[in-house]
């Protein structure tokens, strides 16, 4: 099994003149889950975006397997799935077409979804909406489609932004089961959440973020 370590060291992020967060440090290795908690606007999403390399850090660094993610040699995206709070789905495609598209771009698996789509659509119980356009779906179903990506990826690092929002109880339990499976298979999960579900996990870490400091 491939070992993966994520190290965030003194991360500081500014947007304009506003300090979003500063001096955030943590490390995470295989089989661990990190919950990022805090009030609205405290920088959870920004931290998650900087983990994916989308957000520039003012100070500090993020290393995966001791290689800085800004280093072009660090192919961390080959091993990282990011699902943001907007669902990364094309409104004008059906559920099936969307997942097919995302599957083609996911080089970690070899057309796993396309070979057996019904198996993956059943997990979150969305197979009946298979040929619906995403724009016709409810918010919860959109979230389920977005999360279905996790079922057919072989990537080890999952970076999720509020995965539990909009989901019903059954789907929440399914998702937590999926997380447990992933953790026991040696994966890593970074997730921001408002709902504490750490009691399901043996090795969980917390990151409590404070509020934003606005320079007036």
């Amino acid at each position: 099994m491939k070992n993966i370590d994520i190290l965030v060291d003194n991360a500081t992020c500014l947007r304009g003149d506003n300090l979003i967060f500063d001096n955030i440090s943590f490390n995470l290795s295989n089989g661990e889950i990190l919950f990022i908690m805090g009030p609205n606007g405290c920088g959870k999403t920004t931290l998650i975006r900087s983990l994916c390399g989308i957000q520039h850090l003012e100070n500090g660094c993020i290393k995966i397997n001791n290689v800085n993610i800004n280093n072009p040699e660090c192919n961390f995206l080959e091993n990282l799935v990011y699902i943001g709070h907007n669902d990364s789905l094309s409104e004008n495609l059906t559920i099936y077409e969307n997942l097919e598209y995302l599957n083609k771009f996911d080089l970690s698996n070899k057309d796993k979804f396309i070979s057996n789509p019904n198996k993956f659509l059943k997990f979150f119980d969305i197979s009946k909406y298979k040929n619906y356009l995403v724009s016709e779906l409810s918010q919860g179903n959109k979230k389920k489609v977005a999360l279905s990506r996790l079922l057919f990826t072989n990537k080890k690092i999952w970076v999720l932004d509020e995965p539990l929002s909009f989901l019903d109880e059954d789907s929440k339990n399914n998702l937590i089961k999926l997380f447990l499976d992933h953790i026991t298979n040696g994966g890593l999960i970074v997730t921001s959440t408002h709902i504490d579900f750490s009691n399901y996990f043996e090795k969980s870490k917390y990151l409590n973020m404070k509020g934003i400091n606005i320079n007036e």
Partner: protein, 81 residues
């Protein structure tokens, strides 16, 4: 992978007809208004109309070129893959 991108763009365009018709309407509007503005000068119109058509084509493609990336950016696909 190229074929799947192509397929996605084609579906996006044909399920969203305003992507196709808005530039077309713009194109014909510009072309038809030009002679009205210039006046009934046949030889002048005959001289400049090919240039006007080409310039309008360029502007029209500029108008619709933002659609290529705007959707992918807005719904976050460009961030997640």
């Amino acid at each position: 992978m190229n074929s799947i991108i192509f397929k996605k763009e084609i579906y996006t365009y044909f399920r969203n007809l305003n992507y196709i018709f808005l530039p077309l309407i713009f194109f014909f509007l510009v072309i038809s208004i030009f002679p009205l503005v210039i006046g009934p000068n046949k030889s002048l119109i005959a001289k400049i109309i090919p240039g006007i058509i080409w310039i309008t084509i360029i502007f029209t493609s500029l108008l619709s070129s933002s659609n290529f990336f705007k959707d992918d950016y807005n719904n976050g696909i460009s961030k997640c893959i």
